[in-house]
Protein backbone atom coordinates (compact mmCIF):
# COMPACT_ATOMS: atom_id res chain seq x y z
CA UNK A 1 0.00 0.00 0.00
CA UNK A 2 2.91 2.30 0.88
CA UNK A 3 4.52 1.54 -2.49
CA UNK A 4 1.29 2.31 -4.36
CA UNK A 5 1.12 5.67 -2.67
CA UNK A 6 4.67 6.45 -3.63
CA UNK A 7 3.99 5.55 -7.28
CA UNK A 8 0.94 7.75 -7.18
CA UNK A 9 2.97 10.69 -5.83
CA UNK A 10 5.71 10.10 -8.39
CA UNK A 11 3.14 10.02 -11.22
CA UNK A 12 1.67 13.25 -9.96
CA UNK A 13 5.12 14.86 -9.86
CA UNK A 14 5.89 13.76 -13.43
CA UNK A 15 2.50 15.06 -14.59
CA UNK A 16 3.07 18.40 -12.85
CA UNK A 17 6.49 18.65 -14.46
CA UNK A 18 5.06 17.97 -17.91
CA UNK A 19 2.32 20.55 -17.42
CA UNK A 20 4.86 23.16 -16.31
CA UNK A 21 7.01 22.45 -19.36
CA UNK A 22 3.96 22.84 -21.60
CA UNK A 23 3.03 26.16 -19.92
CA UNK A 24 6.59 27.51 -20.35
CA UNK A 25 6.59 26.46 -24.01
CA UNK A 26 3.22 28.18 -24.58
CA UNK A 27 4.41 31.44 -22.98
CA UNK A 28 7.66 31.40 -24.97
CA UNK A 29 5.76 30.86 -28.21
CA UNK A 30 3.39 33.72 -27.43
CA UNK A 31 6.40 35.94 -26.67
CA UNK A 32 7.77 35.36 -30.18
CA UNK A 33 7.40 38.80 -31.60
CA UNK A 34 5.31 39.82 -34.53
CA UNK A 35 7.08 40.92 -37.73
CA UNK A 36 8.35 44.50 -37.45
CA UNK A 37 6.78 47.14 -39.67
CA UNK A 38 8.67 50.10 -41.12
CA UNK A 39 6.95 53.46 -41.22
CA UNK A 40 7.85 56.54 -43.26
CA UNK A 41 6.59 59.90 -41.98
CA UNK A 42 6.20 62.53 -44.68
CA UNK A 43 5.86 66.13 -43.53
CA UNK A 44 5.26 69.50 -45.14
CA UNK A 45 8.00 71.94 -44.02
CA UNK A 46 5.69 74.92 -44.69
CA UNK A 47 2.44 74.09 -42.91
CA UNK A 48 3.47 71.09 -40.79
CA UNK A 49 0.90 68.70 -42.34
CA UNK A 50 2.10 65.14 -41.93
CA UNK A 51 1.12 61.70 -43.10
CA UNK A 52 2.37 58.20 -42.40
CA UNK A 53 2.80 55.40 -44.89
CA UNK A 54 4.61 52.08 -45.20
CA UNK A 55 8.34 52.40 -45.87
CA UNK A 56 9.34 51.69 -49.47
CA UNK A 57 12.74 51.07 -51.03
CA UNK A 58 14.60 54.28 -51.82
CA UNK A 59 13.10 56.28 -48.92
CA UNK A 60 15.50 58.36 -46.83
CA UNK A 61 15.06 61.27 -44.47
CA UNK A 62 15.11 64.46 -46.52
CA UNK A 63 13.77 62.87 -49.71
CA UNK A 64 11.51 65.36 -51.52
CA UNK A 65 8.00 64.03 -52.06
CA UNK A 66 4.87 65.24 -53.84
CA UNK A 67 2.95 68.44 -53.10
CA UNK A 68 1.26 68.98 -49.76
CA UNK A 69 -2.53 68.50 -50.02
CA UNK A 70 -3.03 71.52 -47.73
CA UNK A 71 -0.63 74.22 -48.98
CA UNK A 72 0.90 72.76 -52.14
CA UNK A 73 4.54 73.03 -50.96
CA UNK A 74 6.85 70.06 -51.51
CA UNK A 75 6.67 67.55 -48.70
CA UNK A 76 9.77 65.77 -47.37
CA UNK A 77 10.44 62.47 -45.61
CA UNK A 78 10.62 63.51 -41.95
CA UNK A 79 11.52 60.21 -40.28
CA UNK A 80 11.68 56.47 -40.82
CA UNK A 81 11.29 54.07 -37.93
CA UNK A 82 10.45 50.53 -36.89
CA UNK A 83 7.20 49.64 -35.17
CA UNK A 84 6.74 46.36 -33.32
CA UNK A 85 9.27 43.55 -33.41
CA UNK A 86 11.40 42.79 -30.43
CA UNK A 87 11.35 46.13 -28.63
CA UNK A 88 13.12 45.78 -25.33
CA UNK A 89 10.96 46.63 -22.39
CA UNK A 90 12.87 48.64 -19.83
CA UNK A 91 12.34 47.61 -16.26
CA UNK A 92 11.03 44.26 -17.42
CA UNK A 93 11.28 41.84 -14.55
CA UNK A 94 11.52 44.54 -11.91
Amino acid sequence: MEGDQMYFIMSLAVLAGMLSALAVAAITMRKKEEEPKFVTVVKCPSCGYEEKRDWKEGDFVGLVQGPCPKCGAHMKVWSIYKVGGEEEKAKEGL
Partner: protein
Protein backbone atom coordinates in the same frame (compact mmCIF):
# COMPACT_ATOMS: atom_id res chain seq x y z
CA UNK B 1 8.83 -9.33 -7.13
CA UNK B 2 11.05 -6.63 -5.55
CA UNK B 3 9.47 -4.11 -3.18
CA UNK B 4 9.62 -0.49 -4.43
CA UNK B 5 11.53 0.61 -1.34
CA UNK B 6 14.30 -1.92 -2.12
CA UNK B 7 14.57 -0.62 -5.67
CA UNK B 8 14.89 2.93 -4.35
CA UNK B 9 17.64 1.81 -1.97
CA UNK B 10 19.57 0.27 -4.83
CA UNK B 11 19.16 3.40 -6.97
CA UNK B 12 20.33 5.61 -4.09
CA UNK B 13 23.38 3.42 -3.54
CA UNK B 14 24.27 3.41 -7.22
CA UNK B 15 23.94 7.19 -7.31
CA UNK B 16 26.14 7.53 -4.24
CA UNK B 17 28.79 5.28 -5.77
CA UNK B 18 28.62 7.21 -9.03
CA UNK B 19 29.03 10.46 -7.11
CA UNK B 20 32.10 9.13 -5.30
CA UNK B 21 33.57 7.79 -8.53
CA UNK B 22 33.10 11.10 -10.31
CA UNK B 23 34.37 13.21 -7.40
CA UNK B 24 37.62 11.23 -7.02
CA UNK B 25 38.47 10.62 -10.68
CA UNK B 26 37.58 14.05 -12.07
CA UNK B 27 35.08 12.48 -14.46
CA UNK B 28 32.48 15.11 -13.53
CA UNK B 29 34.74 17.89 -14.83
CA UNK B 30 35.31 15.99 -18.06
CA UNK B 31 31.60 15.39 -18.46
CA UNK B 32 30.92 19.08 -17.85
CA UNK B 33 33.63 20.05 -20.36
CA UNK B 34 32.01 17.76 -22.91
CA UNK B 35 28.56 19.30 -22.34
CA UNK B 36 29.94 22.86 -22.49
CA UNK B 37 31.94 22.13 -25.65
CA UNK B 38 28.84 20.68 -27.30
CA UNK B 39 26.82 23.74 -26.32
CA UNK B 40 29.51 26.18 -27.55
CA UNK B 41 29.91 24.26 -30.81
CA UNK B 42 26.17 24.44 -31.42
CA UNK B 43 26.11 28.23 -30.93
CA UNK B 44 29.32 28.63 -32.91
CA UNK B 45 27.71 26.88 -35.88
CA UNK B 46 24.80 29.29 -35.58
CA UNK B 47 27.22 32.25 -35.72
CA UNK B 48 29.00 30.65 -38.68
CA UNK B 49 25.63 30.50 -40.45
CA UNK B 50 25.02 34.19 -39.70
CA UNK B 51 28.48 35.10 -41.02
CA UNK B 52 27.84 33.13 -44.21
CA UNK B 53 24.44 34.78 -44.69
CA UNK B 54 26.01 38.21 -44.21
CA UNK B 55 28.74 37.35 -46.72
CA UNK B 56 26.14 36.26 -49.25
CA UNK B 57 24.11 39.45 -48.78
CA UNK B 58 27.25 41.58 -49.22
CA UNK B 59 28.15 39.65 -52.34
CA UNK B 60 24.64 40.14 -53.76
CA UNK B 61 24.82 43.89 -53.14
CA UNK B 62 28.26 44.15 -54.79
CA UNK B 63 27.10 42.12 -57.78
CA UNK B 64 24.02 44.34 -58.09
CA UNK B 65 26.37 47.35 -58.25
CA UNK B 66 28.30 45.58 -61.05
CA UNK B 67 31.48 45.29 -58.99
CA UNK B 68 34.15 43.24 -60.75
CA UNK B 69 35.68 40.28 -58.85
CA UNK B 70 33.04 40.66 -56.10
CA UNK B 71 33.83 37.21 -54.64
CA UNK B 72 37.51 37.96 -54.28
CA UNK B 73 36.85 41.41 -52.80
CA UNK B 74 34.55 40.01 -50.11
CA UNK B 75 37.09 37.29 -49.31
CA UNK B 76 39.84 39.90 -48.97
CA UNK B 77 37.83 42.36 -46.90
CA UNK B 78 36.48 39.78 -44.46
CA UNK B 79 40.04 38.94 -43.41
CA UNK B 80 41.13 42.60 -43.11
CA UNK B 81 42.52 43.70 -39.73
CA UNK B 82 43.89 46.74 -37.92
CA UNK B 83 46.94 46.65 -35.67
CA UNK B 84 46.68 48.90 -32.62
CA UNK B 85 49.40 51.54 -32.24
CA UNK B 86 52.12 51.07 -29.61
CA UNK B 87 50.70 52.16 -26.25
CA UNK B 88 53.75 51.84 -23.99
CA UNK B 89 54.86 55.11 -25.63
CA UNK B 90 51.70 57.22 -25.53
CA UNK B 91 53.08 60.31 -27.28
CA UNK B 92 50.89 61.06 -30.30
CA UNK B 93 48.97 57.81 -29.88
CA UNK B 94 45.70 59.30 -31.15
CA UNK B 95 47.43 60.75 -34.21
CA UNK B 96 48.96 57.36 -34.93
CA UNK B 97 45.62 55.65 -34.33
CA UNK B 98 43.84 58.11 -36.65
CA UNK B 99 46.49 57.43 -39.29
CA UNK B 100 46.09 53.65 -38.99
CA UNK B 101 42.26 53.82 -39.08
CA UNK B 102 42.31 56.20 -42.05
CA UNK B 103 44.79 54.00 -43.89
CA UNK B 104 42.43 51.05 -43.42
CA UNK B 105 39.42 53.04 -44.56
CA UNK B 106 41.20 54.35 -47.63
CA UNK B 107 42.39 50.87 -48.50
CA UNK B 108 38.81 49.51 -48.36
CA UNK B 109 37.53 52.39 -50.46
CA UNK B 110 40.32 51.92 -53.01
CA UNK B 111 39.71 48.18 -53.34
CA UNK B 112 36.02 48.85 -53.95
CA UNK B 113 36.42 51.92 -56.19
CA UNK B 114 38.90 50.20 -58.49
CA UNK B 115 36.39 47.48 -59.25
CA UNK B 116 33.21 49.53 -59.23
CA UNK B 117 31.67 51.46 -62.14
CA UNK B 118 32.26 55.21 -61.75
CA UNK B 119 28.58 56.12 -61.86
CA UNK B 120 27.71 54.31 -58.61
CA UNK B 121 26.36 56.92 -56.13
CA UNK B 122 28.48 57.64 -53.05
CA UNK B 123 25.66 56.55 -50.73
CA UNK B 124 25.50 53.06 -52.25
CA UNK B 125 29.27 52.75 -52.07
CA UNK B 126 29.18 53.63 -48.37
CA UNK B 127 26.39 51.10 -47.73
CA UNK B 128 28.40 48.37 -49.50
CA UNK B 129 31.44 49.23 -47.35
CA UNK B 130 29.39 48.94 -44.14
CA UNK B 131 28.02 45.56 -45.25
CA UNK B 132 31.58 44.37 -45.85
CA UNK B 133 32.52 45.64 -42.37
CA UNK B 134 29.67 43.67 -40.77
CA UNK B 135 30.76 40.54 -42.66
CA UNK B 136 34.29 41.15 -41.41
CA UNK B 137 33.03 41.46 -37.81
CA UNK B 138 30.89 38.30 -37.92
CA UNK B 139 33.70 36.36 -39.55
CA UNK B 140 36.15 37.56 -36.87
CA UNK B 141 33.74 36.61 -34.05
CA UNK B 142 33.34 33.12 -35.51
CA UNK B 143 37.09 32.64 -35.89
CA UNK B 144 37.78 33.87 -32.34
CA UNK B 145 35.25 31.49 -30.78
CA UNK B 146 36.59 28.59 -32.82
CA UNK B 147 40.11 29.48 -31.73
CA UNK B 148 39.27 29.55 -28.02
CA UNK B 149 37.13 26.42 -28.19
CA UNK B 150 39.85 24.43 -29.92
CA UNK B 151 42.49 25.81 -27.53
CA UNK B 152 40.38 24.82 -24.52
CA UNK B 153 39.86 21.32 -25.89
CA UNK B 154 43.50 20.93 -26.85
CA UNK B 155 44.83 22.01 -23.46
CA UNK B 156 41.93 20.59 -21.41
CA UNK B 157 41.45 24.10 -20.02
CA UNK B 158 38.37 23.89 -17.81
CA UNK B 159 38.30 27.61 -16.98
CA UNK B 160 38.72 28.81 -20.55
CA UNK B 161 35.86 26.54 -21.60
CA UNK B 162 33.69 27.74 -18.71
CA UNK B 163 34.29 31.41 -19.54
CA UNK B 164 33.53 30.83 -23.20
CA UNK B 165 30.34 28.93 -22.33
CA UNK B 166 29.24 31.71 -20.00
CA UNK B 167 29.68 34.54 -22.53
CA UNK B 168 28.28 32.60 -25.49
CA UNK B 169 24.66 33.83 -25.04
CA UNK B 170 25.86 37.47 -25.21
CA UNK B 171 28.07 36.81 -28.23
CA UNK B 172 25.25 34.98 -30.01
CA UNK B 173 22.86 37.85 -29.31
CA UNK B 174 25.34 40.43 -30.64
CA UNK B 175 25.97 38.28 -33.73
CA UNK B 176 22.22 38.04 -34.42
CA UNK B 177 21.97 41.82 -34.09
CA UNK B 178 24.82 42.27 -36.57
CA UNK B 179 23.02 39.95 -38.99
CA UNK B 180 19.84 41.98 -38.53
CA UNK B 181 21.83 45.16 -39.21
CA UNK B 182 22.74 43.79 -42.65
CA UNK B 183 19.09 44.12 -43.74
CA UNK B 184 18.86 47.66 -42.33
CA UNK B 185 22.04 48.92 -44.03
CA UNK B 186 21.23 47.08 -47.26
CA UNK B 187 17.94 48.99 -47.46
CA UNK B 188 19.54 52.24 -46.22
CA UNK B 189 17.04 52.75 -43.39
CA UNK B 190 18.10 54.87 -40.38
CA UNK B 191 19.55 52.95 -37.44
CA UNK B 192 19.25 53.98 -33.79
CA UNK B 193 22.70 55.57 -34.00
CA UNK B 194 21.38 57.85 -36.78
CA UNK B 195 19.52 59.92 -34.22
CA UNK B 196 22.39 62.45 -33.94
CA UNK B 197 22.46 63.11 -37.72
CA UNK B 198 18.62 63.16 -37.67
CA UNK B 199 18.64 66.00 -35.12
CA UNK B 200 21.28 67.79 -37.22
CA UNK B 201 19.15 67.35 -40.35
CA UNK B 202 16.19 68.98 -38.66
CA UNK B 203 18.33 71.88 -37.48
CA UNK B 204 19.64 72.28 -41.03
CA UNK B 205 16.12 72.62 -42.46
CA UNK B 206 16.56 76.38 -43.08
CA UNK B 207 20.29 76.41 -43.81
CA UNK B 208 21.90 79.42 -45.49
CA UNK B 209 24.85 77.48 -46.92
CA UNK B 210 26.38 74.02 -46.82
CA UNK B 211 30.03 73.03 -47.18
CA UNK B 212 32.40 70.07 -46.57
CA UNK B 213 34.93 70.80 -43.80
CA UNK B 214 36.22 67.20 -43.74
CA UNK B 215 35.92 63.99 -45.72
CA UNK B 216 32.36 62.60 -45.77
CA UNK B 217 31.26 65.36 -43.39
CA UNK B 218 29.11 68.43 -44.03
CA UNK B 219 28.56 71.66 -42.14
CA UNK B 220 25.67 74.07 -42.58
CA UNK B 221 24.95 77.51 -41.22
CA UNK B 222 21.60 78.40 -39.69
CA UNK B 223 20.33 81.26 -37.60
CA UNK B 224 18.31 80.67 -34.44
CA UNK B 225 16.85 83.80 -32.86
CA UNK B 226 19.84 85.99 -33.75
CA UNK B 227 22.45 83.36 -32.86
CA UNK B 228 24.71 81.87 -35.52
CA UNK B 229 24.74 78.06 -35.44
CA UNK B 230 27.09 75.85 -37.45
CA UNK B 231 25.62 72.37 -37.67
CA UNK B 232 27.99 69.47 -38.43
CA UNK B 233 26.98 65.96 -39.50
CA UNK B 234 28.20 63.04 -41.62
CA UNK B 235 27.28 63.29 -45.30
CA UNK B 236 24.20 61.20 -45.96
CA UNK B 237 22.12 59.38 -46.88
CA UNK B 238 24.76 56.66 -47.26
CA UNK B 239 26.00 54.77 -44.21
CA UNK B 240 28.97 56.69 -42.87
CA UNK B 241 30.01 58.37 -39.62
CA UNK B 242 32.23 60.93 -41.37
CA UNK B 243 35.01 62.74 -39.52
CA UNK B 244 33.10 65.06 -37.15
CA UNK B 245 36.12 65.70 -34.88
CA UNK B 246 38.24 66.97 -37.73
CA UNK B 247 35.27 68.96 -39.10
CA UNK B 248 34.57 70.69 -35.75
CA UNK B 249 38.27 71.48 -35.34
CA UNK B 250 38.42 73.09 -38.80
CA UNK B 251 35.19 75.05 -38.28
CA UNK B 252 36.38 76.43 -34.93
CA UNK B 253 39.84 77.27 -36.31
CA UNK B 254 38.26 79.04 -39.30
CA UNK B 255 36.23 81.13 -36.87
CA UNK B 256 39.43 81.97 -34.98
CA UNK B 257 38.08 80.28 -31.87
CA UNK B 258 35.21 82.77 -31.60
CA UNK B 259 32.70 80.09 -30.66
CA UNK B 260 30.57 80.30 -27.51
CA UNK B 261 29.45 76.70 -27.35
CA UNK B 262 30.21 73.30 -28.83
CA UNK B 263 27.29 70.91 -28.42
CA UNK B 264 27.52 67.27 -29.47
CA UNK B 265 24.41 65.10 -29.88
CA UNK B 266 24.78 61.34 -30.03
CA UNK B 267 23.16 58.03 -29.23
CA UNK B 268 24.33 56.61 -25.90
CA UNK B 269 24.13 53.13 -24.48
CA UNK B 270 21.39 52.95 -21.88
CA UNK B 271 21.84 51.09 -18.65
CA UNK B 272 19.52 48.16 -18.02
CA UNK B 273 16.27 49.53 -16.63
CA UNK B 274 16.49 52.86 -18.49
CA UNK B 275 13.96 53.73 -21.17
CA UNK B 276 14.89 53.73 -24.84
CA UNK B 277 14.64 57.29 -26.16
CA UNK B 278 15.23 59.00 -22.84
CA UNK B 279 17.41 62.10 -23.12
CA UNK B 280 20.20 63.28 -20.83
CA UNK B 281 22.58 66.21 -20.99
CA UNK B 282 26.11 66.55 -19.72
CA UNK B 283 29.53 67.97 -20.37
CA UNK B 284 32.23 66.62 -22.69
CA UNK B 285 32.22 65.28 -26.23
CA UNK B 286 29.49 62.73 -26.91
CA UNK B 287 31.15 60.58 -29.54
CA UNK B 288 31.95 56.89 -29.49
CA UNK B 289 34.94 56.65 -31.79
CA UNK B 290 38.15 54.87 -30.71
CA UNK B 291 39.73 58.24 -29.83
CA UNK B 292 41.00 60.43 -32.67
CA UNK B 293 37.74 62.28 -33.39
CA UNK B 294 36.87 62.77 -29.73
CA UNK B 295 40.28 64.14 -28.83
CA UNK B 296 40.14 66.59 -31.76
CA UNK B 297 36.93 68.10 -30.30
CA UNK B 298 38.34 68.15 -26.76
CA UNK B 299 41.60 69.77 -27.91
CA UNK B 300 40.00 72.58 -29.88
CA UNK B 301 37.46 73.28 -27.11
CA UNK B 302 40.24 73.41 -24.51
CA UNK B 303 42.52 75.52 -26.73
CA UNK B 304 39.95 78.31 -27.00
CA UNK B 305 38.18 77.72 -23.67
CA UNK B 306 34.88 76.89 -25.38
CA UNK B 307 32.22 75.16 -23.22
CA UNK B 308 31.85 71.58 -24.44
CA UNK B 309 28.39 70.13 -23.81
CA UNK B 310 26.64 66.91 -24.76
CA UNK B 311 23.10 65.73 -25.33
CA UNK B 312 22.54 61.99 -25.55
CA UNK B 313 19.58 59.83 -26.57
CA UNK B 314 19.65 56.49 -24.83
CA UNK B 315 19.21 53.07 -26.41
CA UNK B 316 20.59 49.54 -26.21
CA UNK B 317 23.57 48.36 -28.27
CA UNK B 318 21.18 46.30 -30.41
CA UNK B 319 18.89 49.26 -31.09
CA UNK B 320 21.88 51.43 -32.02
CA UNK B 321 22.88 49.30 -35.01
CA UNK B 322 19.49 48.08 -36.21
CA UNK B 323 16.36 49.90 -37.43
CA UNK B 324 15.57 53.04 -35.45
CA UNK B 325 12.77 52.33 -32.95
CA UNK B 326 9.74 54.63 -32.84
CA UNK B 327 10.68 55.92 -29.38
CA UNK B 328 14.09 57.08 -30.64
CA UNK B 329 12.57 58.80 -33.71
CA UNK B 330 10.21 60.64 -31.38
CA UNK B 331 13.06 61.55 -29.02
CA UNK B 332 14.74 63.37 -31.94
CA UNK B 333 11.96 66.01 -31.84
CA UNK B 334 12.51 66.55 -28.13
CA UNK B 335 16.29 66.72 -28.66
CA UNK B 336 15.82 69.44 -31.33
CA UNK B 337 13.64 71.40 -28.89
CA UNK B 338 16.31 71.14 -26.19
CA UNK B 339 19.10 72.22 -28.56
CA UNK B 340 17.10 75.28 -29.66
CA UNK B 341 16.38 76.10 -26.01
CA UNK B 342 20.10 75.86 -25.16
CA UNK B 343 21.08 78.05 -28.13
CA UNK B 344 18.57 80.68 -27.00
CA UNK B 345 20.28 80.79 -23.60
CA UNK B 346 23.39 82.21 -25.34
CA UNK B 347 23.56 86.02 -25.74
CA UNK B 348 22.28 87.30 -29.11
CA UNK B 349 25.03 87.43 -31.75
CA UNK B 350 26.79 84.37 -30.29
CA UNK B 351 28.13 81.50 -32.36
CA UNK B 352 27.58 77.83 -31.54
CA UNK B 353 28.77 74.64 -33.18
CA UNK B 354 26.26 71.79 -32.96
CA UNK B 355 27.31 68.33 -34.14
CA UNK B 356 24.96 65.41 -34.80
CA UNK B 357 27.27 62.45 -34.21
CA UNK B 358 26.57 58.95 -35.49
CA UNK B 359 25.99 56.92 -38.61
CA UNK B 360 23.95 58.93 -41.06
CA UNK B 361 22.46 55.87 -42.83
CA UNK B 362 19.16 56.95 -44.40
CA UNK B 363 19.47 60.59 -43.31
CA UNK B 364 20.39 63.31 -45.84
CA UNK B 365 21.26 66.95 -45.10
Amino acid sequence: MQQPSNILDIITQIMFMAFLFMAFTGADARLRMYIWAKNIRMKMEEIKGLAEESEKETLDVLKKLNVKNADQIVKRLKEFFHINPVDIEPTDITKRMAHILRTGQERWEKILSENMPEDVPKAQKHNALVLAEITNSLHTIYKLIRHYLLTALKTNNFFLMMQLWMIMPMITKMSKTLREAVDTFKNCRPVGDSVGPLVAYRLLENKKRLWRPAKDTVAGEVEIDGRRVIVVKAEGPGATVGNPGEAIQKVVEELGGNVDLILTIDAALKMEGEDTGSIAEGSGAAIGDPGPEKIAIERVATKYGIPLEALVIKMSAEEAITDMPESVAKAADEAVRRVVERIKELPPGSTAVVAGIGNTCGVAQ
